[in-house]
């Protein structure tokens, strides 16, 4: 076991990890941050997406030791301290961009990364960017609308032909 220290959602956190401990497992099991989910074992589904040093990564496909000393942001750190949802989270609620909630943490973290790079993405850009995040409930329709809304754009009731 090795001691690992990261700055998680702005606060220093430490824990023990083996070489093989995945960042996702470290967050969930060592630190109790169970908001990050694991939905596959082949790096497709994206339920585990967190930000490491400001970049979206799949925390199930990275070792905890690789994140030693890094800044890590997870779903738990997105809302304000008083619990107020940030604008992206709020848009997901407003536009019914989630159902069972399991893919949601990764979906929100990916969408946040998109908006950081591209503050006004088109519908097509949103759909393309989300290729590493699988949702089985929503058909993506309302996720796309939520992200459009969070970026301050008009949200079509349906697609413009």
């Amino acid at each position: 076991m090795t001691k690992v220290t990261m700055t998680i959602n702005g606060k220093p956190r430490s824990g023990e990890a083996e070489g093989r401990t995945l960042l996702a497992s470290f967050l969930r099991e060592e630190l109790g941050l169970t908001g990050t989910h694991v939905g596959c074992d082949t790096s497709q589904c994206g339920a585990c997406v967190v930000h490491v040093d400001g970049k979206a990564v799949k925390s199930c496909t990275m070792f905890a030791l690789e994140a030693d000393g890094a800044q890590v942001d997870t779903i738990e750190g997105q809302a304000d301290a008083d619990g107020t949802l940030n604008s992206l989270q709020q848009a997901f609620q407003d536009y019914h961009g989630l159902q069972c909630g399991f893919c949601t943490p990764g979906m929100v973290m990916s969408a946040a990364a998109l908006l950081k790079d591209n503050p006004k993405p088109s519908e097509a850009e949103i759909r393309h960017y989300l290729e590493g995040n699988i949702c089985r409930c929503t058909g993506y329709h309302n996720i796309v609308r939520a992200i459009l809304a969070a970026s301050g754009q008009d949200v079509p009731a349906v697609a413009a032909e």
Partner: protein
């Protein structure tokens, strides 16, 4: 003005807050002090005889508590099947034992052989590699028709063959249907496959067993759509634990789609092992493990014939289906190709004679059971594909052929020749709406524009009907169900007026915590924030049959309405007493009781307080307290229906399909929360489009699952989906439940596959490719092959 609360409003979902902040409580988030970890050793061959299992080296390894094999379950029952189908000769289906761990033979890749329990998961996994298992591989039975051929290798030695049942429906019509087809003016025949798919809720299954020695009490935390059903099946049939000693909790569950209805071996294992070891035991499925242990869906091979007279009126339908059961009978598997399939073969149409034959077959594959829609998608797909083919053969517009045969609004209630009675519907209305929203009339101009870009544009129409609100108990009992299909609710009003509703329905994405509260809020007039919806814990909710078959609002919601009505009746008695008025004159409006024709009123909270502080109270007439339960068992299924239109482009060079537009015009009867209903349709459509275009569960001839992970099983992504036009303005309310609701969970997955395939075939035909059918998933490679031989 749209409402902002109550029935018909779209308030934001209250459950979203915890899901959006990472504070949900899914089963894998539960960790109990002293917890151990189970690793299942699963068969890597499809069929084989187990000669020996030697776990001695593994049991000596660091951290290992015990290695379990079938010998440890000698006293336990098998995993039960909840539905017995009677075949066309009046004989019960063949029902093999489904052991918790393989007994003597393995019958599919993934069949559990042994389980290592250790202090850590990795220790369990390390030790699993040291368990020596000697298996003689046997010939795998994969193809269904070969499985029932003379002399085929048997999946179960103690059965007479691999045929589970040969079901005929309606058997008395068999000869009349044959005759009608012989004498028809036109018969259209189509052979097709309804592809095997995997439900793949994003949360893999998890089970945590806990045992309290002091009270001899078992607790199972599990990813289930119906914890009470698991309690019943596992307690009564597998582990012999009485209900009062067994608590089953299904907390936040990350999607189900059918795959989390069933009682699985892993649930029984962790429950039992927790007692043996006197330690909590946790099992978490990986996605790859889910592919070989979650029940699969669909997998029918069908030939359908549609007979018409010279006026293009349908005269008869005959279908022959081979339905894959897999290696064992999953909980509701036998009902899917029979009662959930044959009874829908009338579709939305007047067809006087129908005969459905289904041969259910055992193979060396993962068990197959209900997946979103379950039987009804298979029925709809055949019917809506063969009608499209018939229209093409007759040179008719496929919409017109459908309209010509629709059951008309004045014919309801309508008795079909396949034993069900549709209560309401208006199929021309949904068809009109879909054509309008999709701008069907403007298609040709769009097609010409596509053609100019070198693309083949097609449009496909389908109209579906489904039977939802799965019930009534007396009917399903006659059909072979081994459980009732009512739902229960308890409404507990607290002294201060806040309300806890305990429902047997289970929400795993459907938003019941929001919609159910809307209904009670509307009925009583208290703010929804004062109402909690409690579900998913057998220690809190008295009884429940759970959530599947689009039944939650129609059955569970109705039970809640009934219990709330009892609450209101009792509260009125208390209010009458408080206001010294006649009970008959008491009115409840906006959370206050008043006496008709007077200005007397008492607030809801005053009445609820009186119920618990009964100083001024009609104690001689009614008991203190304000808590009521109801069990609701509906008189009929509900019958949602709708028209779906798919518009797409085919790239003739590669066969790639670009989904351009999808329109759904559904009749769900009354709608409680339009936002949530639309979301349910979006999700169903994505699963139906996924099945139609990309999802394929493929076994090779040796029974190896080739599509065993997300590396090869294609899940629909955001860029595979179009924006969807979803309309639910056509509403013919259900006539037999108090809310007039029909259910909306499965519709999208039922109506969309034929619309998609019809659109592809339409695109190819318009470009001169005389392709009659392409089996799902209609992948680019299959389209290209169909076009170029």
């Amino acid at each position: 003005m749209p409402k902002d609360s109550g029935i018909g409003a779209s308030p934001k979902r209250r459950e979203d807050i915890r899901f959006l902040t990472g504070t949900g409580n899914y089963t894998d988030d539960i960790n109990i002090n002293g917890q151990t970890y189970a690793w299942f050793i699963r068969s890597d061959v499809a069929h084989g005889t187990i000669n020996s299992i030697d776990a001695s080296a593994a049991e000596a390894m660091e951290g290992v508590l015990k290695v379990f094999t079938s010998a440890d379950f000698a006293e336990a029952g098998g995993i039960p099947c909840g539905w017995e189908v009677t075949d066309r000769h009046g004989q019960p289906m063949q029902e093999p034992k489904h052991p918790i761990l393989a007994e003597g033979k393995v019958r599919h890749v993934g069949d559990p052989i042994a389980v290592v329990v250790a202090e850590t998961l990795e220790q369990a996994r390390d030790a699993a590699e040291a368990v020596e298992i000697d298996i003689d591989e046997l010939e795998a039975v994969i193809d269904m028709k070969a499985a029932v051929a003379e002399g085929a290798t048997k999946v179960h030695d103690d059965l007479t063959s691999n045929l589970c049942y040969d079901w005929g429906f309606v058997e008395e019509n068999r000869e009349a249907v044959d005759e009608a087809i012989k004498s028809a003016a036109h018969v259209t025949t189509l052979e097709l496959v309804n592809n095997r798919v995997v439900a793949n809720p994003m949360e893999p299954r998890v089970a945590v067993g806990d045992y309290n020695r002091a009270g001899d009490e078992h607790t199972l935390y599990t990813t289930s759509q119906n914890p009470h059903v698991i309690r019943l099946l596992m307690g009564a049939f597998v582990l012999s634990i009485p209900e009062h000693k067994l608590r089953v909790v299904a907390p936040d569950v990350g999607g189900g789609f059918g795959a989390k209805i069933y009682h699985y071996a892993e649930e029984a294992f962790v429950t039992y092992a927790a007692k043996v070891l006197n330690r909590p035991v946790k099992w978490t499925s990986s996605r790859s493990e889910a592919f070989i242990s979650d029940a699969h869906g669909r997998d029918h091979v069908t030939k359908i014939e549609l007979a018409m007279d010279e006026n293009h009126k349908f005269t008869a339908v005959r279908t022959d289906t081979y339905a894959n059961m897999g290696a064992y009978l999953s909980t509701f598997a036998p009902s899917v190709p029979t009662w959930l399939h044959g009874t829908l073969m009338a579709g939305n149409y007047i067809t006087p004679l129908i005969y459905v034959n289904v041969k259910a077959v055992f193979t060396n594959t993962v068990p197959v059971d209900a997946y979103r829609g379950a039987g009804r998608p298979e029925a709809t797909f055949q019917l809506e594909r063969v009608i499209d083919k018939a229209a093409r053969e007759l040179g008719m517009d496929p919409v017109e052929l459908r309209r010509k045969n629709f059951i008309q609004p004045d014919q309801f209630p309508y008795d079909t020749p396949v034993a069900v009675t549709y209560d309401t519907g208006n199929y021309d209305a949904t068809m009109d709406k879909a054509l309008e929203v999709a701008d069907y009339a403007g298609f040709e101009a769009r097609r010409a524009e596509s053609e100019a870009r070198g693309k083949l544009r097609g449009i496909g129409v389908a109209h579906y009907i489904e039977a939802c609100g799965i019930a009534p108990s007396n009917l399903v009992g006659q059909l072979g169900a081994r459980a009732g299909l009512y739902e229960s609710a308890t409404v507990r009003v607290n002294a201060t007026g806040s309300i806890s509703v305990f429902t047997g329905s289970h929400s795993h994405g459907q938003g019941h915590e929001t919609t159910f509260a809307q209904v009670v809020s509307e009925m009583i007039g208290v703010d929804a924030s004062q109402i909690d919806i409690v579900h998913g814990d057998t220690s809190k909710v008295p009884m429940g049959m759970g959530t599947y078959g689009s039944r939650s609002i129609a059955v569970g919601g109705s039970a809640m309405v009934r219990a709330t009505e009892k609450i209101i009746n009792k509260a009125k008695k208390i209010a009458a007493h408080l206001m010294e008025a006649s009970e008959a004159d008491i009115e409840l409006k906006d959370g206050a009781f008043s006496v008709a024709g007077t200005d007397k009123s008492v607030a809801w909270g005053d009445v609820t307080l009186a119920a618990y502080v009964p100083h001024n109270y009609p104690l001689e007439d009614i008991e203190p307290g304000l808590e009521e339960s109801a069990f609701y068992d509906p008189a009929n299924f509900t019958y949602p229906s709708g028209a779906y239109i798919c518009e797409l482009e085919v790239d003739p060079e590669t066969g790639v399909i670009d989904m351009l537009n999808f329109t759904a015009a559904d009749d769900f009867g009354n709608v409680i929360n339009p936002m949530i209903v639309e979301g349910q349709v979006h999700g169903g459509l994505a699963q139906g489009i996924g099945q139609a275009l990309m999802e394929a569960c493929i076994y090779d001839e040796n029974g190896q699952l080739l599509s065993g992970s997300f590396m090869d099983y294609t899940m629909p992504r955001a860029d595979d989906m179009p924006m969807m036009n979803v309309d639910h303005s056509c509403q013919t309310p259900c006539t037999h439940n108090p809310l007039g609701v029909k259910g909306c969970g499965e519709a999208g997955a039922i109506g969309s596959p034929p619309a998609v395939v019809n659109a592809v075939i339409d695109a190819l035909h318009r470009a001169g490719h005389k392709v009659e059918h392409i089996d799902m998933p209609v992948s680019p490679a299959r389209v290209w092959k169909a076009m170029h031989g």
